[in-house]
Symmetry: C2
Subunit: 451 residues, 2 copies
């Protein structure tokens, strides 16, 4: 018997029998491409067997959990502030986990209400206004700084590091400052690795073959999570259990595979070029941002086929339920049929608020006997139904609750799906050649334009 998966999914509203043949996938379209899906899946399994998709094996890495947990304990004991310097994949995974599992206003809580943990800041930009504002609200002497860069050469991260290291050394002296840094980078190569060795900074390794946007289950995502107080074993366990389920279930029961297949069919048969992620939870906004990078960088690729260039990639969009009902829904309902809506729902909220009966005006009668969490849920269901009736393709992923275990499964689901979707489109999910030209142009201009 197939085990049951840690999270649920539903792709019925992608199908022609629900939303019509113009925008829904027909039986025929499904059948025509199914052999290709099978072939891709077999290649994927083959690739996994020979270790070519190591990002999906990460929950099993040895010793990392113990190392990260021990280091996080140290950090929690010695710091009131924890800064993560990183950009793109070096920041988005950590943000996704921290925002999902801790209160929205975490940094405004007292130390006691934070469970003794430090305030946490992800610095993922090089805006001087932001850095200046940060320095106004932290005490550098009580700060631990986690510098994250796979290559150890990321220009923006080096810039942040240069400024913060200098400020810290000035404040507490070079020797004391050396105890404040944790460098997460390549095991051997790069400028950051060299500096860490020279200065005796603590380090964590990003394993070979795992790029930034697939690194959430490496120390890149795990250290900030553990410093926040997340049970990272639970996180990995959710990922692990979903993988176990995927290994046992049929193709049709594999939600990540089928979701990727529907995304592929939407591009190929329906020419839809936009995929919206629409979580109904303030705390999943970070996951949406992380997914947008994963989807955009993995699928947005130029490839040359039979001497013709093809440009692929659905554009990911992050929306937020229910707020964006009052911002983007008009476009989703009446704009072009160019998008798929992917809802993410949490079945039961952590702490619900029942509506009081303090107001007798007619308008409040609707709320009686409901809770705020119930309203959130009803609104998601209503909007899903309305979009479906309007012939707008949509699907849904459901978490039983928003805890480390379910979140781990969700993050694993999306990575697994992204790799497979890229393979369906015949592109490499793991490279990003398109950003190299920009990087070179920046370096060129920095070299020339001394002010």
């Amino acid at each position: 018997m197939t085990p049951s998966p840690p999270i649920q999914w539903n792709y019925q509203n992608m199908m022609a029998d629900r939303i019509g043949a113009k925008d829904g996938i027909t039986e025929e379209e499904y059948k025509i491409s199914f052999p290709w899906l099978k072939e891709v899946y077999q290649n994927f399994i083959q690739d996994r067997t020979v270790g070519r998709v190591s990002c999906l094996d990460l929950p099993y890495a040895d010793g990392v959990v113990e190392q990260v947990t021990a280091l996080a304990k140290e950090v929690r004991g010695q710091s009131d502030f924890f800064l993560v310097l990183g950009i793109g994949g070096s920041a988005l995974g950590g943000i996704a986990i921290q925002r999902a599992l801790y209160p929205v206003h975490y940094n405004l809580l007292s130390k006691k209400d934070r469970g003794g943990g430090p305030k946490i800041f992800f610095i993922e930009n090089i805006d001087p206004d932001e850095i200046a504002s940060l320095l106004d609200v932290i005490s550098l002497g009580k700060t631990t700084v986690n510098v994250v860069s796979k290559s150890g050469e990321t220009l923006e991260t080096l810039a942040q590091f240069l400024l913060i290291e200098n400020a810290l050394c000035k404040k507490i002296g070079k020797r004391a400052a050396s105890t404040k840094f944790i460098i997460t980078t390549d095991p051997t190569a790069g400028t950051l690795r060299k500096i860490a060795e020279k200065e005796g900074y603590r380090t964590l390794d990003i394993p070979e073959g795992v790029g930034g946007r697939f690194s959430v289950f490496t120390p890149v995502g795990l250290l900030p999570a553990a410093v926040s107080g997340v049970d990272i074993r639970q996180l990995l366990s959710g990922a692990n259990d979903l993988n176990y389920y995927f290994n046992k279930c049929s193709l049709e029961e594999n939600g990540a595979l089928m979701g990727g297949f529907f995304a592929y069919l939407s591009v190929v048969h329906k020419r839809r070029n936009i995929q919206v992620i629409f979580p109904y939870s303030e705390r999943l906004v970070g996951v949406a941002g992380w997914w947008c990078q994963l989807w955009a960088e993995s699928l947005g690729k130029a490839r040359n086929t039979e001497d013709k260039w093809v440009w692929t990639g659905e554009t990911p969009i992050s929306a937020r339920g229910v707020s964006d009902q009052h911002s983007q829904l008009q476009l989703y309902m009446e704009g072009p049929y160019d998008k798929t809506i992917q809802f993410v729902r949490v079945e039961s909220v952590a702490c619900d608020l029942p509506f009081p009966r303090s107001r007798t005006e007619e308008a409040f009668r609707l709320f009686s006997d409901h809770t705020l969490g119930g309203l959130l849920r009803i609104e998601q269901e209503a909007i899903e139904a309305t979009l479906t009736t309007a012939g707008r393709p949509n699907c849904r992923i459901t978490l039983p609750r928003l805890d480390a275990y379910s979140l781990g499964a969700l993050l694993y689901f999306f990575q697994y799906q992204t790799v497979l979707t890229a393979m369906l489109h015949r592109v490499n999910p793991f490279d990003q050649p398109g950003v190299e030209v920009g990087k070179m142009e920046i370096r060129k201009r920095l070299g020339i334009r001394k002010k």
Copy 2:
């Protein structure tokens, strides 16, 4: 002589001579549609004359500035916390202003460093996790609550209000609580207006004919701005001066008009369905979110032409420089040619940080003699140049600095542009019929599904 505008724009990289005829607008395409632009502009001027575009006249409204300023002073004197309850257009304008003109970590500053002003929270969702987290970090007794809804009937806002009002009354008693509310709503109609009159809550009017997404220059946006300490006269003055410039300049010198025209041509001649706003400033992220609503709800419309349905609307996307270079740029460089990139740049940052010379490793040599603000600027220029070379259409809006005056002009620019772009597409910028079905479905389900 034409006066000079408070902000600058540049649409050269939209043109065929820069990026090629496949994706750039050709002379011919421009010329073919120019008569339509002229006609639309004349209709627009006519509409403005008879008061049909009152959202663009708002900077001139009488007495509002004084009323809002006085009320804001009161709030600053009596509160440590200021909550705005609202959703969509009732929140996004206030957020845009507050985030743009105050430090990124404003709420973490001490009261003194906040200039004596209260901590500010915009509650724009109905997630119980968020509300619960909010109640953990504020002291209700020291809070002023601004409830914002044009109709006074917005379901989500009423739900927030019901919970917060009840909690406040329980905490400090009904009489004291009545001094804590400010209701921003329709001058006469709606549930919130009725409650305000009954309970003696202070009120501010949203003028007739101004919908939520165009209400940033009404008390909807102005009160939170003034409570933060923004000089709202300066804000309105920027808007006013840009309007004055537009009244004097030629069609070709009118950046909002020409930008709207290029957006229209991109849809009609190039079939591009995505418009990205890409500010290179952490503090402009709120403006980007506000613009996404403005663009989506105003342009995303179904219309019936000669018995055929047409679905219009570019999908707006909010990106963030430089962070999204490490997230979305790969897709923008190598994905489908389906988007226009609209950069927003700030010419001089408020407080720049020069790079120290504390590191001698080769990788840091590039930074010498540069500042962090300089790096931010060079990166924007480099990415703009790289996209242009790759034949990717882009344009740029430049603010001389990020102050109330320039921000006012920017917000005015986008509203003016949105109205004109909608008119070019022959849709009504001011309605949102597509969200009504969803609202009805929510009400239906609330009525049926009592738990």
